[in-house]
């Protein structure tokens, strides 16, 4: 048997040959980030923005050498999983969507990272990234009491009214409703015409109903976040709950109480339902989606108001970094890239994304062109809603930690009224009692 003699020359040649056979890292010689070679894991619920952004991931990977892997879930599943992940201090994810409804809870509990440590360091974030460019009302819920920012807006779901079959309203000699009274009048005039239900909605009543509660002069809490006494059984709350439940019951398509967002959208896209108030994100496909049967008849308006004014909902979801993440630096590189002015302009231009949170982008010509839908300047409506939001005061009810529990009581009460199980006063009184109990269970002191 011949013995192989191992010399230094042979060994070096072998190592060099072996290395040549291995695939070269994709970023070799290209990556500029000190995090090159890192893989970050992200989590989000199904958002159009994420869908558009993911088409640019290869560019980010090439630019920085950071690999990106995202888990996408349905909205309720995502929230439950993330709630569990964050509450256990998990390190599975490096970038997450800080959901609007959970912002008070997640930020208040200290489960997400203070992003000021990145934005205030010029070596990490150049001044041109301009964090103050994000609309203040949008960012308000993503800051703590000291003004520290924990997430940057990905989507400002500004609520608008959109009527897929505005032609039916025209034919009835009416205009898009601007008040709650007009909503009933228009619905009565067009319901069932050409087989189209007058109104549609998804089953998240605690998002869809509060604008009408506030327009009627009511509030969810007495003065959130300072005073969390719920006000669900006040006369305006009872009247607006009866109004909203009646709207769904009388003018909704069959099964409307079980509709998810997708189903509500589909009912409009297919021309089976006419009007809906929700985030602009769900209204855009009516004009732009190739499958839309109402692209030529859709029209947009402000959310109908009431005696106390109009209060269109704005839900602002943002990108944040979990406290438990072990790759915070790389995660910030991703957020910085994803929410830069340049990237947002591209997403608007190339995909028609409507829910941008940067003012410079919203005021750009590109945005205006993109949001000219069926000849209508919807960008102006969007800006109007964001300006109306101001510092976000009237939406604060939504970001207090106990809102998920209180929102559940609202959902069930509206359901009970719409299905005739209870009258509005009884259902709302019960919702109030349960909400008080839930808030007290959360450790908050409240009283009449």
């Amino acid at each position: 048997m011949q013995r192989l003699s191992v010399t230094r020359r042979r060994m070096l040649a072998g190592v060099a040959g072996g290395a040549a056979l291995l695939p070269a890292p994709a970023v070799l010689g290209k990556a500029t980030s000190k995090y090159a070679g890192t893989t970050i894991r992200g989590a989000a619920f199904s958002l159009p923005f994420h869908q558009y952004l993911s088409t640019y991931f290869p560019e980010f990977e090439k630019e920085t050498g950071i690999k990106v892997a995202f888990d996408i879930e349905a909205f309720p599943i995502y929230n439950q999983r993330m709630d569990l992940e964050l509450s256990t201090g998990g390190s599975s994810y490096d970038v997450i969507i800080v959901t609007f409804i959970y912002q008070g809870k997640w930020i208040g509990a200290g489960w997400v990272t203070d992003l000021d440590e990145f934005t205030k360091d010029p070596n990490v974030t150049p001044a041109s990234w301009d964090p103050v460019d994000f609309v203040p009302g949008v960012e308000a819920s993503m800051r703590d009491a000291k003004g520290h920012t924990y997430a940057y807006g990905v989507e400002a779901g500004a609520m608008l009214l959109y009527a897929g079959r505005a032609d039916l309203i025209d034919r009835a000699g009416l205009a898009l409703p601007t008040t709650m009274d007009e909503v009933l009048k228009v619905c009565a005039a067009v319901h069932g015409k050409a087989g189209v239900a007058a109104w549609t909605a998804d089953k998240l009543h605690h998002w869809n109903w509060p604008p009408y509660l506030e327009a009627s002069g009511g509030r969810v809490f007495r003065d959130a976040p300072k005073d969390l006494m719920p006000l669900l059984d006040t006369p305006p709350a009872v009247a607006s709950a009866a109004w909203y439940a009646g709207l769904l019951k009388t003018y909704g398509p069959p099964g409307v109480l079980s509709f998810t967002d997708d189903q509500a959208l589909h009912s409009q896209l297919s021309g089976r339902a006419n009007m809906r108030t929700n985030s602009i994100t769900w209204g855009l496909p009516l004009a732009k989606d190739p499958s839309s049967t109402v692209a030529k008849t859709v029209r947009y308006g402000m959310v109908p108001g009431g005696p106390a004014g109009d209060f269109p909902g704005v839900a602002c979801h943002g990108f944040g970094i979990p406290k438990g993440s072990k790759k915070k630096g790389a995660a910030w590189e991703f957020i910085k890239w994803a929410l830069s002015k340049e990237m947002l302009l591209r997403v608007v231009k190339e995909h028609g994304y409507p829910s941008v949170c940067r003012r410079s982008v919203i005021e750009s010509e590109v945005f205006k062109e993109t949001l000219t839908l069926n000849g209508q300047d919807v960008a102006a409506l969007y800006l109007k809603v964001l300006d109306q939001l101001g510092d976000g005061a009237y939406m604060r009810y939504r970001t207090v930690p106990v809102f998920p529990a209180v929102g559940d009581k609202i959902n069930r009460a509206i359901d009970a009224i719409a299905t005739g199980q209870q009258t509005a006063p009884v259902a709302m009184k019960e919702a109030e009692a349960q909400a008080i109990e839930a808030i007290r269970m959360g450790g908050y002191k409240i009283g009449r």
Partner: protein, 310 residues
């Protein structure tokens, strides 16, 4: 002589006893790791659950962990919580109807499939399909059937000119629609158990019944069913315990609604823990559920005589 024998036997008996003691000790040591693991994986989580139920644990507030200052608060709250009471009532209705229907349909199909027919034998596998489907798939099937826009059933109703309410959003029909879907999914289990038992019924006693002039229905009622009574009892109680764990269909089809008409206790505990973070209260609800399940398990053992000496 006898004293000498007794004296000789004494060391032998002592040796036997020592050996038996050693064997027992050896067996205990052999079993110890298994028992330890078993305790760790079953008993400890339950103990933790019980301990948590005495605290107001809310993960958003670290001070609530291991706070035993008001240990019975959650249980007191449960007594005044109308939604918890309602969830128990919904649970009782759901269990009553699903178990009843699954038993009746399961026994009926088992009796049919027990007939000596080639075609019926071939159908057995087909009937088992719902049971082996993942619960999520079952949920999706029924969601499609119950959703007017996409349901073939609703297309047919529309074609016939019938106006049918959407069952999952109707206060009257939401619970029956869950009962129907659950029955469809699980009657094959009772069918399978009863069928297996039917095949153990001796031909001789059936022959004897025939000789005595019994008709088929009489032989079934007075001979076959009493013979498989034990299996029927087990099947029924298994389904009863399982019905307490109802979750996927409710989550997928109705979300506990409309209002709270399909909100069972299990689902209510899930909401408290995972939607509102009231883990302490959810634990207390779960402790009540575990207690009910344990009581039912005890009942199974008592009624069927498992573990009793023959």
């Amino acid at each position: 002589m006898s004293l000498a024998v007794a004296a000789a036997a004494r060391p032998r008996a002592a040796k036997r006893e020592r050996l038996a003691r050693q064997r027992r000790r050896f067996l205990v040591w052999c079993l110890a790791p298994t028992l330890g693991v078993l305790m760790a994986v079953t008993l400890l989580p339950i103990l933790y659950l019980v301990a948590t139920s005495f605290t107001p644990l809310d993960p958003t507030n670290p001070a609530t962990a291991w706070n035993f200052s008001r240990p019975l608060l959650n249980y007191r709250l449960m007594l005044s919580d109308g939604r918890f009471g309602n969830s128990l009532w919904v649970q009782a209705k759901l269990s009553f109807w699903t178990v009843g229907l699954q038993m009746l349909i399961g026994i009926g199909f088992a009796l049919l499939l027990n007939l000596r027919s080639g075609m019926l034998k071939a159908l057995r596998t087909l009937f088992l399909v719902p049971m082996v489907l993942p619960p999520i798939v079952v949920g999706i099937i029924w969601k499609v059937l119950y959703t007017p826009d996409i349901s073939p059933a609703f297309w047919a109703f529309k074609a016939l000119g019938w106006k049918v309410a959407t069952p999952i959003t109707s206060a009257t029909w939401a619970l029956p629609s869950i009962i129907l879907a659950d029955t469809w999914e699980w009657f094959p289990l009772t069918m399978l158990m009863v069928l297996a038992a039917l095949q153990t019924v001796p031909e001789e006693i059936l022959d004897a019944a025939r000789v005595d002039g019994a008709r088929i229905w009489q032989a079934t009622l007075y001979v076959v069913l009493p013979y498989v009574r034990g299996t029927l009892m087990v099947a029924g109680l298994f389904r009863l315990i399982d019905s307490i764990k109802a979750f996927p269909l409710i989550y997928l089809l109705t979300d506990g609604g409309p209002g709270s008409v399909t909100e069972v206790t299990n689902y209510y505990a899930f909401e408290q823990a995972f939607n509102f973070s009231y883990v302490g209260y959810a634990s207390a609800i779960t402790v009540v559920l575990v207690t009910v399940s344990l009581a039912l398990s005890w009942l199974i053992v008592r009624l069927t005589g498992w573990g009793a000496d023959e």
